[in-house]
Amino acid sequence: MTRQATKLVIITEQLLLRDIARIVESSGATGYTVTPANGKGSRNLRSSGQPTASGAFANVKVEVITASEALARRIADEIAGKYFDNFSGIAYLDQVDVLHAKHL
């Protein structure tokens, strides 16, 4: 199996992870992957008062692979609309070829 799919990547504050996971799960996407991240962007808000001196990862990178690009865009729009005015965040799409996955 090789199947064209869209990978949505959202990089945002760790603090929002629970909410974002909820949005992705209820969107109909078949899964998602989270990696720890740090970053610098337009504003440099720190999310949590968590020590910067302890090398913590304050951001997360969430990747959602969807068969339909429209779904990926809907998820991105919902998250950006809800949070990106007040929280650090960036969202982008990438085209990938899924070789093996249980569902998609």
């Binding site: 720190r46 999310s47 949590s48 008062g49 020590p51 910067t52 001196a53 005015d85």
Partner: protein, 334 residues
């Protein structure tokens, strides 16, 4: 005159106490560009250990305490938490260069309580042999939660008035969010275990002996952090720095006065008064910021976290704590 000299001496000696020395040491090495790092996992565990120690101690002493004695201090703690927020709402938040919601959030953070400042006060008091009601740390949530809730409610009211919206703010989710945070969870779990079970052996063999030493490490982190946040604070209005320098002392002294009333009415001890003042003078560093980010998303965290971490906490520990101890010893015991 003599009294002032005495305070000055106390104040300067204080700088040699490990608590303050490590805090300042942290500021200094951060300023010098040191790459020393206390890993996040260790930092989180130290916070757990300290709050568990404070909670266990509190819980064990509630067992023997007269519940009636705790009522007035608890009520005062709530009043202080709310009073601090209202005070900030109608001073800081009204200043022309301060966005109203930023000011309210800052007031909320200063109304909330810092577990590490509380731990620092306990260590200093115990090493100076000052007695206090060991249940006093249980006043923490009575001050912390109302302050955060009130700040979020005030900010929502303000923002809704601006928008013309009429939705009501729901209080319970904020309370729940606070209680579920890692700091309050650890403290309350400790209190519950101290109250309901027999943790004396591990308290005396583990949590208590490690208390002071772990606190020294935490103070080092807080110092490094204070320096790291200064840059953030510089980007926001200067009023935050002014507020952060004065508010801890003003709040502490108000609480001291109310504590004194409790002393007269129900025999609240001088040491208890000091702790109440410390709770009031402290500003939250662990659980407050995420609660406020979620509750007042439009407020700028650089303002409130910067003010609290860079200036509020050092002032609360370095000036507030010796001040309240000196006051207690001079006015009450002396």
């Amino acid at each position: 005159m003599e009294a002032a000299l005495e305070f000055l001496t106390k104040f300067l000696t204080q700088f040699q106490s490990p608590t303050l020395a490590f805090l300042l040491g942290g500021i200094v090495i951060a300023a010098l560009g040191s790459r020393l790092e206390i890993p996040e996992a260790v930092y989180k565990f130290i916070v757990f250990m300290l709050l568990m120690r404070v909670g266990l101690d509190g819980g064990m002493s509630i067992r023997e305490a007269n519940l009636a004695d705790m009522l007035l201090p608890a009520l005062f703690a709530m009043l202080i938490g709310c009073g601090i927020v209202l005070l900030g709402r109608y001073t800081l938040a009204l200043l022309p260069s301060v966005r109203t919601e930023d000011g309210i959030a800052t007031a909320g953070l200063f109304g909330a309580v810092s577990g590490s400042t509380l731990a620092a006060a306990i260590v200093v008091m115990e090493s100076e042999g000052i007695e206090y009601e060991h249940w006093a740390p249980a006043l923490y949530p009575f001050m912390d939660i109302p302050a955060l809730v009130l700040a979020i409610v005030l900010a929502s009211m303000y923002l809704k008035r601006k928008d013309g919206s009429v939705e009501k703010v729901r209080v319970w989710p904020i309370v729940k969010e606070s209680l579920q945070g890692s700091a309050l969870s650890a403290l309350l779990l400790g209190i519950a275990l101290g109250l309901l079970t027999r943790p004396e052996a591990i308290f005396e063999g583990f949590y208590d002996p490690l208390f002071r030493g772990l606190l020294s490490v935490l103070m080092l982190v807080m110092g490094m952090e204070a320096y790291a946040r200064l840059a953030e604070l510089r980007r926001v209005a200067h009023w935050y720095a002014v507020y952060a320098a004065l508010a801890p002392l003003v709040h502490g002294l108000i609480a001291f006065a109310l504590g004194y009333v409790a002393h007269v009415l129900v025999g609240f001890s001088p040491g208890g008064i000091v702790l109440l003042a410390v709770l009031a003078g402290s500003s939250s560093d662990i659980s407050g910021p995420p609660t406020l980010r979620a509750g007042i998303p439009t407020a700028n965290p650089s303002a409130y976290v910067g003010a609290s971490t860079s200036i509020g906490t050092p002032v609360a520990i370095a000036i507030g704590l010796p001040l309240y101890i000196w006051l207690a010893q001079t006015l009450i015991v002396g």
